[in-house]
C-alpha cells in the first residue's frame, strides 16, 4: 500500500489576470523522488511556493503529511525543508553559522543544530570548511551548503528547486548521490530541474507542467515509451514533444 505524503487537488493561483497555476492535481508518495518539470513560466515555482507555505493558493487543496495547508500550515512548516533555486545564504557568515541559524529557525536547540550542521557538512564533503565564510566558497560549494541547510531539522519532505544549476559535474554528481542517499533514509523529495537527464536518473515519477497545467505525469520510463522504445528515447525528447520547441520567456 503506497502512502501518499503530498496530495494536491485542483490547485489555482493567479497574479492579476494571469493564471500561473490552473487546476493542478497530483500526489507524491512517501519516500518518492517526484520531479516537477516544465519550461520557464510553466508554474513550477508558483506551485512549489504554495506547497512550501510561502504563497496562499486562490483555490484547491494541499495536504502534506496529513496536515491541511489551509488549517495547519505551521505544522507543515515543521516537516518540510526547502532548497531554493537562489543561493539563499548569508555570505558574511560561515557555513556552520548559516546552518546553525536555519537549524534554530527549524526548531532545533543550539547544540542539536550544531551537531546536525556538522553531520550535514560531512555529508556534503565540506566539514573542513565549516568555519569559512560562505562569500569565499565556490559555486559548487555554495550549492552543497544550500542543500545542507534544507536538511536541517530532519524534514520529512524536501523541496529541491534546481539544486544543481550552474555547477561542475563533480559537485553535481556529489549532490545526486546525496539525494539518492536521502531517499534511502525515507525522505520524500519534490524535485524541479531543467536537466532532463537528471530527472531521468533521479526521479521515480515526473509531472510535466506547461501553461499552469500538468500535461503529463508518469514514470520516466512510461513517458519515454509513449513515443518510442524507452532505451532509445530521452526524456528531453518527450519534454520537447509535449511542450513544443518555441522559445519561452
Amino acid at each position: 500500500m503506497v502512502e501518499e505524503f503530498v496530495v494536491v487537488s485542483d490547485l489555482q493561483k493567479s497574479f492579476n489576470e494571469h493564471k500561473a497555476v490552473d487546476g493542478v492535481s497530483f500526489s507524491v508518495h512517501k519516500g518518492e523522488i517526484f520531479g516537477l518539470l516544465g519550461p520557464n513560466g510553466a508554474g513550477k515555482t508558483t506551485t512549489i511556493r504554495m506547497l512550501s507555505t510561502v504563497l496562499v493558493a486562490d483555490g484547491g487543496e494541499i495536504t502534506i503529511g496529513g496536515h491541511s495547508m489551509q488549517r495547519e500550515s505551521a505544522a507543515i512548516r515543521s516537516i518540510i525543508g526547502v532548497c531554493p533555486q537562489e543561493l539563499a545564504l548569508y555570505d558574511d557568515l560561515s557555513a556552520l553559522d548559516n546552518m546553525v541559524f536555519f537549524g534554530r529557525m527549524a526548531g532545533m536547540t543550539g547544540l542539536e543544530a550544531k551537531e546536525q550542521a556538522m553531520a550535514n557538512l560531512k555529508l556534503m564533503g565540506l566539514v573542513d570548511r565549516a568555519k569559512g565564510k560562505v562569500a569565499k566558497f565556490s559555486g559548487g560549494m555554495k550549492r552543497r551548503i544550500n542543500l545542507a541547510i534544507a536538511l536541517m531539522g530532519n524534514p520529512q519532505l524536501v523541496f529541491l528547486d534546481e539544486p544543481t544549476v550552474g555547477i561542475d559535474p563533480q559537485s553535481r554528481n556529489h549532490i545526486y548521490e546525496n539525494i539518492l542517499g536521502l531517499q534511502k533514509k525515507g525522505m520524500t523529495i519534490l524535485y524541479t530541474t531543467h536537466y532532463m537527464e537528471e530527472a531521468d536518473r533521479l526521479c521515480n515519477r515526473v509531472a510535466i507542467m506547461d501553461g499552469g497545467k500538468i500535461i503529463a505525469m508518469d514514470t520516466p520510463h512510461q513517458l519515454k515509451s509513449q513515443i518510442g522504445p524507452p532505451e532509445k528515447v530521452t526524456l528531453e525528447e518527450v519534454f520537447l514533444r509535449l511542450t513544443g520547441r518555441s522559445l519561452r520567456d
Partner: protein
Amino acid sequence: MKRALYITLNEVRLYLQDKGDLAFSLLLPIVTFALIYGAFGGRTLFEATARVVDEDGGAYATALVQRLDAADGISIETLTSSQAEDKLDRSDVLLVLYIPAGFSESLLSGGKSQLVFKQRGNGGQEGQILASIVRGVAEDMNQEFQVRADVAQNVEGKGVPEERIGVAVEKYLEEERQQPFVGVAEELVGGSADVINQYLPGIVTMYVLFALSLSARVIVEERRKGTLERLLTTRLSTGELFFGKFLAAVARGFVQTLILLGLSYAVFQMFTPLTFLESLLIILIFTAACSALGLIVASIARSEDAANWIGVVFTMFMVMLGGTFFQVTEDSILHTMGRVSINTYANDALRKVIAEGASLGDITIPLVVLGGVAVVGLIISRLVFRAVPGGK
C-alpha cells in the same frame, strides 16, 4: 518570541561582520558630534572680536584688556596703530579701541584718562555692542578707583598702613564683583537660549531617522538574497520575523544615538543624570517608532532603490515639518502640519527635558504618540507585507 530574538541576533551578527558598515555606523555619530561641536561648541549668542591698539602698555591698560578678554563671547585682537588704520581704511573692521599712551600713568597719579573708539560710520551693530561692553568695563574700573580714593581719603592720618588699606579694599571689591548690590538675573521664557540645547534635539532626531531609513531595506535585502523565502518556510512566523527585524533596527539606531548623546553629555555637560536617562528613553521610543515606519517601507518596497528613496523622502518630509532647523511659530500652518511629523513630538519632548529639565510626566503626550506610532506601524508593516510581490 525565541525565534524573533534569533532573527535579532543574526541581524546583529551580520552587522558586526560587515566591517565597512560597522565602522560607518559607529563613526557617523562621532563625526556628527564633531560637526555639532565645531558648529556650536562653546558658543554664546553673541560672539565678536575686539580690536585693541594698546599705545600705553601699562598695568591699567593690561588690566582693561584682560577684563575685556574675560567677558562672554569677546575675543581680543591686538593691533598696532598702523595696522588699525589700514583695516579701518579698507573697512575690514568698523571699530577699534585705542588705549592712549599715558593711560595707566595718569590713573596711577590720580588723574583722569580717556579711551578712544575709532570707527567707520556708527561702527556697525557688532561695534556698537562691543563699545557698550567696553564702556561697562570702563565704568566698573571707574567705580573701583572711586572706592579706593574714598577709602584712602577716610583713613588718611589715622595711621593705617597703606598696604593694609590696599588689601582690605581689594577684598571688598572682589566681594562686590561676586555679589553685587544690584545684580541682574536672567529668567528664561520658552527654554534656554543655548544653541546646543536649541539644535541638538533636532539633529539627534534627524540622525535617528536617517539611520533608520537604511533599515527600510531589510526585507528587500532578504528577498534579494533568497533568504526571505527560506525563512518563511521554517517554523518562524511572519510576526516573529518582523518583530526580530524591529528589535534589531531599534538596537542599532539606539546604540548609534547613545554614542551621540553620550558625547554631548560628556563634552557639553548639558544633561543632569536624570535628564540624560529621560532623553535616552525618549530616543528609545522614537527609534522604535522610526523602526516600525521603516518596516512599513520595507514591506511595500520592491527594490533596495525604492526602499532607499521612500526612506529619504519620508525622512526629509519629517525633518522639515518637525522644526529641526528652525522654530515653528505656534499659530502658523506649518505648526499644524508639523503635528503629522513624528519628529515634532520627539523634538518637543527632548527640548523640554534638555532645556527646561521637564519630568517624564510633562512629556506624556509625545511619548504616548511615539509609542502608538511604534505599535501601529509594526502592525501595519505586518499587514501590508507580501512574501512575493503581488502575492498574498
